[in-house]
Symmetry: C2
C-alpha cells in the first residue's frame, strides 16, 4: 500500500525536522512491511515568496487536494510579515480542506524534564482539541482613518454553530474514550458575545454525554491551571486562539516548544489532513542542524495513525521515547545530539523493535 | 490629608480580602502619620443583582466619580452569568473612568515558592502592562440565525490608534525606568488585522525610545516563555486579552493566583483609578476565612502609591514580604494561617517598622 504525501518543508528549521521525521517514518513503515509513503516535495515558503511574490502558486490548494495527506515543517521568516506568510499558506490549507480539528496530544515522555517541580514522566498526558477553521483567526476586518489619530482597526471573531458544535463534539467523543473528563476554555466574562455562545454549545452538547464531566475555565485561570495542577488535565477543548496558546503552554510544561506534535484533521476524510510540529521556523538556530525533531517525528506518527497504521504510529512514539530516555537529546533539552543523531537513534530503535 | 475611597467588596472572597487589605492600609497610614483613608462601602455585587436586577444602581458610575479612588474585591457568583456580572460593574468602571492602563506588577517575594524548578525569590520581578479599555473586550457584536444550524456569532475586536499608542507609550516609559527591555505580546501571524496594527504602533513608538530594546513574541510562544525563561522578563505589554492571560500566568509562576495585585489606572488622574486583586471571587472557599489576602493587600499598596504615598506603599509590601517569609501563609500557599492571621501579622509589622 502506497500513501501519497505532499511535503512542504517550509522555512528555517522546517526542512531539517521534516527530513528527520520522514526518515523515521520510512524506517518504521519498512520495519512493519506492506506500507510505503511516497513524498512529493513542494518548495512553498518565504524563500518561494521572495521569488514569486506569493507563498504558493495560484493552483497550490488544487495541487494539494490530490494527496492523501500533507506534511508541513514550519512557515515564517524575517522579512516576510507573519500575517502574509501564514495567510498565504498554512491557514488557507487548514480552511480549504476543512481541517477543523487541530489535535495536539502531549505527554511528558521518559527522558524529558518538566520545568515544573514534582512532575515526573507519566504525570502529564493530555490532548488539546483546538478549533482550527474560524474564531479569532477570521481574516475578516479592516482599518479606517488609517495613519490618523482617529484610526480604528477591527477584527471580527466569528463563531458558527456548525463550527463550534463539531469541535466540541469531537472533544466529548475523545474524552469519552479517555478519562471522561473534559475541560473547556472560555472567557465569557470579558468577551461577551462569542464566548457565552461557546459556553452555551458546550452545555448543549454535554447533555449528549452524561458520562463525561465537563468543567469550564476562563482562559486566564486555565493558563495558570496548566502550571499549577497539570496532572489533572486530560482533554482540553478551546477556540482557535485559546487552543493555540494552550498548546504552546502544554509544550512548555513538558519541557519545550520543540516537543509538541499536531494533526490538522478533516475527520470526514473528504480532504487531506495536515501534520506539522507546533513549533515555528526558529530563525535563530536554522541551518545549524540542532533543531529538536521530536515534534516533527511525533507528527509523522500521528499521520501514520490517521492513515490507518496505529502499529506504525505507536512503534515510532515508543522508539522516540526510548531515544529520549537514553539521553539522546538536542541542546534545547540539555543534550548535545544533533537533529540527525536523534533521527538516526529513533530509526535504529524502530528497526530493532520490529 | 484624607483620601476618599469608594469600596466595592463584591462577591465571594471579595469582602474577606478587602477587609484584610484596608485594615493593613489603615495601620500603615497611621504609622506614617498625617494621612487617612475614608471608606464608603457599596454593596454592588451578584447579591445586589439578585435583589435589584442590576449590578449597581443606574447612577452608580456617577456616584463613583466623586471619589479619589476605588477599591474592589472580586465580582462574580454562580447563578449570574459572568458576562452579565462583569459587564454590569467592573468593565464599565474601567471604561467610563478611562482606566486604560492595567498595571500588574509581580515579584517572587521571600516566603513564596515558585512551582518552577530553579527559581528563587528575587528571580522573578516583572510588570504586565495591559490595555484595559478596548481590544478583545469590545462589548460589540451579536448573533444571527440564533438557535439554527446556520447561527453565526460575531464579536468585534477593536483597536484604536489612541488606545494602542497610549498603552504602548506607558510601557516604554516604564521600561525606560526599569530594565530598558520591553516585551510586546502579539499574534500577528494568525490575527491578521488588529495584531499587525499593534505591531506597527509598537514599532513606531519604539523610535521614540532608542534606549529601550523591544522584542515581540506571539502570545503562544510568550506563554511558553513565561514558564521556560521567566528570569529574563521585565516589562511586558499586551492587549486586553493577552494582558489578562499573561497576568494569571505570571501569578502562577510565582505560586498562585491569590498573589497578583492590580491597578486600573487613569494616568491623567482625571477620573478615579481602581485597585483590585487579579483573582476572582472563588466560590469554593468563600466564607471560610482562608482566602489569601496577599493580592488585595498589595493592591492597597498600589493605591497608596498612586495617591502620592510611596512610603506607605513600600512599607506595606515590605511588611507583606516579611510576613510571608515568616511562614504566615494561607492554605493555598501550603500554610495554615487564616486570612485574618495574615492581615494581623502584616499590620503588626507595618506598625513595628514605622
Ligand atoms: C473578571 C474578568 C472580567 C477580569 C478580566 O478579564 O479583565 C479578570 O480576569 C481580571 O483579570 O481582572
Ligand atoms: C504559525 C501560526 C499561524 C500557527 C497558529 O497560530 O495557528 C502556529 O502557532 C500553530 O500553533 O500552529
Amino acid at each position: 500500500m502506497i500513501h501519497e504525501v505532499a511535503v512542504i518543508p517550509g522555512d528555517g528549521i522546517g526542512p531539517e525536522v521534516v527530513e528527520a521525521a520522514l526518515g523515521v517514518l520510512d524506517a518504521a513503515a519498512e520495519a512493519h512491511g506492506g506500507v510505503r509513503f511516497r513524498y512529493t516535495h513542494f518548495p512553498w515558503s518565504c524563500r518561494y515568496y521572495a521569488e514569486h511574490g506569493r507563498m504558493m502558486p495560484e493552483e497550490g490548494l488544487q495541487t494539494l487536494s490530490g494527496f492523501e495527506s500533507i506534511f508541513l515543517g514550519a512557515v515564517g521568516w524575517p522579512g516576510v510579515p507573519d500575517h502574509v506568510s501564514l495567510w498565504g499558506l498554512l491557514l488557507p490549507i487548514r480552511r480549504r480542506f476543512e481541517q477543523y480539528i487541530n489535535y495536539r496530544p502531549l505527554r511528558l515522555l521518559r527522558g524529558l524534564r518538566s520545568p515544573l517541580k514534582g512532575i515526573e514522566p507519566g504525570d502529564i498526558d493530555l490532548v488539546i482539541v483546538r478549533e482550527n477553521n474560524e474564531g479569532e483567526y477570521s481574516n475578516m476586518g479592516g482599518r479606517i482613518y488609517e495613519g490618523t489619530p482617529r484610526e480604528i482597526v477591527i477584527q471580527n471573531t466569528v463563531f458558527t454553530r456548525t463550527g463550534t458544535e463539531r469541535v466540541v463534539r469531537f472533544a466529548f467523543e475523545l474524552a469519552r474514550r479517555r478519562s471522561r473528563r473534559l475541560v473547556s476554555a472560555t472567557k465569557s466574562n470579558g468577551i461577551n458575545f462569542t464566548m457565552p455562545f461557546w459556553d452555551q454549545v458546550v452545555g448543549e452538547i454535554a447533555r449528549e454525554y452524561p458520562d463525561v464531566t465537563v468543567s469550564s475555565y476562563h482562559i486566564d485561570a486555565l493558563a495558570a491551571y496548566f502550571v499549577l495542577r497539570p496532572k489533572t488535565l486530560d482533554v482540553v477543548v478551546g477556540s482557535n486562539l485559546f487552543g493555540d496558546i494552550l498548546s504552546d503552554l502544554a509544550a512548555a510544561i513538558v519541557g519545550g516548544i520543540g516537543l509538541a506534535p499536531s494533526a490538522n484533521l478533516n475527520p470526514e476524510r473528504k480532504y487531506p489532513s495536515m501534520f506539522e510540529p507546533v513549533h515555528g521556523s526558529a530563525p535563530d538556530i536554522a541551518g545549524k542542524g540542532i533543531a529538536n525533531p521530536t515534534a516533527a517525528i511525533w507528527s509523522a506518527a500521528l499521520m501514520a495513525e490517521h492513515l490507518g497504521h496505529p502499529d506504525i504510529a505507536s512503534a515510532i512514539v515508543q522508539a522516540l521515547e526510548d531515544t529520549l530516555a537514553a539521553g539522546i537529546v538536542t541542546p534545547d533539552q540539555g543534550g548535545s545530539a544533533k537533529t540527525a543523531d536523534v533521527a538516526a537513534a529513533v530509526k535504529a530503535r524502530v528497526r530493532g523493535r520490529s
